[in-house]
Amino acid sequence: MDLTLSDRHRALQAEVRCFIARHGHLSPPVGGGGGRVRPDRRALDWQARLIEAGYAARFVPRAYGGHGAAPDVLEAAIIAEEFTRAGVSPGIQGQGIRMLVPTLLEVGSEEQRRRWIPPTIRGEVIWCQGYSEPEAGSDLASLRTRADVVDGRFVINGQKIWTSSAHFADMMFLLCRTEPDRPRHEGLSYLLVPMDAPGIEVRPLPTMTGHATFNEVFLTDVRVPLDAVVLGRGKGWQVANVTLRHERLLLGDAAKLAHRLHRLRGLLERTRVDGVPLIRMPHWRERLMRLQGEVLAMKCHQMRLLSEAARGQDSGLGLLVVKYAGTVLAWRLTALAVDALGDAGLPYEPHDDVAEDDEPTTWYADHMYDLGLIIGGGSSNIQKNIIAERGLGMPREPRPQGGA
C-alpha cells in the first residue's frame, strides 16, 4: 500500500485549494441528482474553467480536448476530496461525460472520438441513453426498435422509454436491432443519433419528483449515416455492456455519496427540535455515523477500483457491486435527510424544473430521484443477478419450460 503524497501530489493539493479559494464562488450550486437540467451558462463556464485547470476531463487525452494527464488515482482522490470539502461543484456529470466518453475512448473510432468527445466534455453536447423500451426494461436483449439499411443509411423505427435528459439532449446513444435474423444478442447495434433528426418525438413522462426527468422517445423513419454505428453492426450488445459498466460506476459514485454526507452533517447541525440540534441527540448521531462508515467503505472501494483500472486490472466482482451498493446507500442518506427535516421539510415547492435553491425540496427531490436510480440503469434485481452470476459464478436460473 503506497498512498504517500509525493511532492507532486502535495503541490496538486495546494493548487486545488488555491483554485477553489480563488474561483470557488463561481461554482454552480451543488446538490440535486446531476444531469436533471441542461447546464446553464454558469455551469458551462465553470466546466471550461475546470477542464483548463485539469480538474475535469483530467485523464481524457489532449487530442480529444481533455487535460491529458496520466491516470493517477491519488490525483483524482485529492481533487474529489477538496471539492467535496469545500462544497464546490466538481463539474458536469451527465451521461455523455460519464458514460459515452469512456465508451468511445474504449471502442469508438478515431473519427467518432475526435468529433464527439471535445464538445461533450465541455458540456456543449448533451447525450441521452436510448436503451429501455416499454416491453424491454430489464430485459435489454429483447428490444424491438429496429434500424434497416435503406439507400446507404440506417432508418430507425421504434420507441424508447425512461430516457432521462432526452427533452434537452442534443444526441442519443441508441441500442437497436439491425440484424433481425441473428440471435437476440447478436442482432443489435449501437448508434449515435442527433435528437433534432426528423422523425424524433420526445414526450416527457411526469414522475414523482414533479420534474420532467424521464421521457418517452418515439422514432419514426429517423435516418442516420452508416458511420453512426459504434464498433460495427451487430456489436451493439458488446458496446452497450461497456457503457453499462461505466453506468454502474456513475450510479454508485462515491464522490456524490461523500458530498451528500457532508451536506447531511450540516443539516443535522442546523436542524433543531425544542432548541437542541439533532446532531447533539445520540440516536440521530448514531444514524449519521453508521452511514458515514458505509460511505467511507464506498469511497475506499472506489479508490481501489480506480487503482486497479490504472493497472489495467479487471476488478470483476468489485466493479459489479458498485451500482447496487451505491444507489441503495444514496437512498438511505436522503432518507436520513428527510427524517431530519421533519415536518418543516414537507413544503415541496419546485419553482420551475428544479428547485435546487430550496433545501428541503432538493432533499426530497433527491430522495425520490434516488429511487429512480435504484430502479433505472438495471434494477436492483438485475444487479443482484449480475453480481451473483458474473461476480460470484453462481448458476444461472434454469430456463422455464416453454419460456422465451
Partner: protein
C-alpha cells in the same frame, strides 16, 4: 369479545370504501393535486357522516370512537383520498370533547358535525416540530406564528396547540390572522403557515392535550396502513401482469419475496392499529394508551416507508412515473411519517410513557 371491527363497523367500512372507489380516481387526484383539494369529495364524505364521526350524538354526530376513525382513515389512505379528515374530523372534535368546557362543546361540536366549519390543525408546539413555532397567549389573545398547519385549504378555523395552555380554536377570517398556503410533498394535502397578531381565541384547557395528539397519531398510523396496503396490492397485481424475460415478473422469486416481506411486515400492523385505536377509546382505563399510540405511529412510519419503496420498485420505472398514480400513495406515506412527530420522536415518547426515559 371480538378482536377487530364488528359487523356494523365492517358494513360502514365497506360503504366508505365503495364510495371512495367510485369517487376517487387517478384523474380526480390529479385535479386535486393542482387545485389543492376536492371540495365535492369532502361534501360526499360529510354525507356519509365522516365530519361528525367523533361528535357525540347529543351534538348531532354519530358519537363513535377513535377505533372507527382509524378504520375510516385506513380506507381514506387506501384510496389516497384528496380530502381533509385528521384535523377537522378527528383532532378538532376530540379537542373539544377532551379539553373543552361544556359551553364550548355545545357551541362548537354541532357546527363540526354539520360540516359547517372546517378546522385546520397546527400541532407544532406539542409534537416536536423542526419548523417555526413561536406562540404566546396573553389575555385570551394569540400572537406569534406556527408553520405547517394541516388541512388549512378551505378551512374556516384552526386548532392550535399551545406551548403550555392546552389548545386554541381560532377563526381564520379573524383580523390579525395571516394564512400562507404551502404545497406539501403530498400534494393532495397542502399545508399552511399561520401567523397571529393578538387574535382572540377560544382556549381549550380542560384536560390533557396529549390525548388529542395520541389519537391523531393512531389515525395517521391507520392512514399509512391503508396506503401501504394499497401499494402492496398494486405491486402484487402489477407483478402478475407485467412480463419480462418471457414470464410474469411476479413469478420471479426476487419479486415474490419482496412482496412477501412487505406482507409479513404489514399484515400484523392491522391488528396493532386496531388495538392502539381501541386503547384510545378506553384511555381512562388503559395506562398504556399513550405508549401504544406512539408505537403504532412509529411502527407504521417504518413499515410504511419500506412498503412505499418496495412496491414502487416492483413497478420498475412505471412506479416512478405518475402514469399509474403510484406516487400519490408513496408521498402520502412519506408525509405522514413526518406529521405529529416522526418515528424517532414517537419512540422516545413511548419510552417516556413507560418510565423508561425521563420526560
Amino acid at each position: 369479545m371480538e378482536f377487530g371491527p364488528d359487523e356494523n363497523q365492517r358494513l360502514f367500512d365497506a360503504a366508505l370504501r365503495g364510495f371512495l372507489a367510485d369517487r376517487v380516481t387517478v384523474d380526480s387526484r390529479r385535479a386535486a393535486a393542482e387545485t389543492g383539494g376536492d371540495a365535492a369529495l369532502w361534501r360526499g364524505l360529510c354525507g356519509l357522516g365522516l365530519a361528525g364521526l367523533l361528535v357525540p350524538e347529543e351534538h348531532g354526530g354519530t358519537g363513535l370512537g377513535v377505533f372507527d376513525a382509524a378504520l375510516a382513515a385506513e380506507a381514506l389512505g387506501h384510496a389516497a383520498a384528496p380530502t381533509p379528515f385528521l384535523g377537522t374530523a378527528v383532532l378538532a372534535p376530540l379537542a373539544l370533547r377532551l379539553l373543552g368546557a361544556k359551553a364550548q362543546r355545545d357551541a362548537w361540536l354541532p357546527r363540526l358535525a354539520g360540516g359547517e366549519i372546517r378546522v385546520a390543525a397546527a400541532f407544532g408546539a406539542l409534537a416536536g416540530t423542526t419548523g417555526r413555532c413561536a406562540l404566546r397567549l396573553e389575555h385570551g389573545r394569540l400572537s406569534g406564528e406556527v408553520a405547517g398547519a394541516l388541512e388549512a385549504a378551505e378551512a374556516t378555523h384552526a386548532l392550535v396547540a399551545l406551548p403550555r395552555e392546552g389548545m386554541a380554536l381560532v377563526a381564520l377570517d379573524a383580523a390579525g390572522v395571516t394564512v400562507r398556503p404551502r404545497r406539501s410533498v403530498d400534494r393532495l394535502r397542502p399545508l399552511a403557515d399561520l401567523s397571529f397578531a393578538a387574535v382572540p381565541v377560544e382556549v381549550l384547557a380542560g384536560g390533557d392535550a396529549g390525548r388529542v395528539l395520541d389519537a391523531g397519531r393512531v389515525v395517521l398510523a391507520a392512514e399509512t396502513l391503508g396506503a401501504a396496503q394499497a401499494m402492496l396490492g398494486k405491486a402484487v397485481a402489477y407483478a402478475g401482469e407485467r412480463r419480462q424475460f418471457g414470464r410474469a415478473i411476479g413469478s420471479f422469486q426476487a419479486v415474490k419475496h419482496a412482496c412477501a416481506e412487505m406482507a409479513a411486515a404489514l399484515e400484523p400492523c392491522r391488528a396493532f392499529v386496531w388495538y392502539a385505536a381501541h386503547a384510545q377509546d378506553r384511555a381512562e382505563e388503559e395506562p398504556e394508551a399513550r405508549m401504544l399510540a406512539a408505537h403504532a405511529k412509529a411502527h407504521l412510519d417504518e413499515v410504511g416507508r419500506e412498503v412505499a419503496r418496495g412496491a414502487t420498485e416492483v413497478h420498475g420505472g412505471m412506479g416512478f412515473t405518475e402514469l399509474l398514480g403510484l406516487p400519490f400513495w408513496f408521498k402520502r406515506i412519506l408525509a405522514n411519517r413526518q406529521l405529529l412527530g416522526g418515528p424517532e420522536r414517537c419512540r422516545e415518547e413511548a419510552a417516556i410513557a413507560q418510565g423508561i426515559a425521563a420526560a
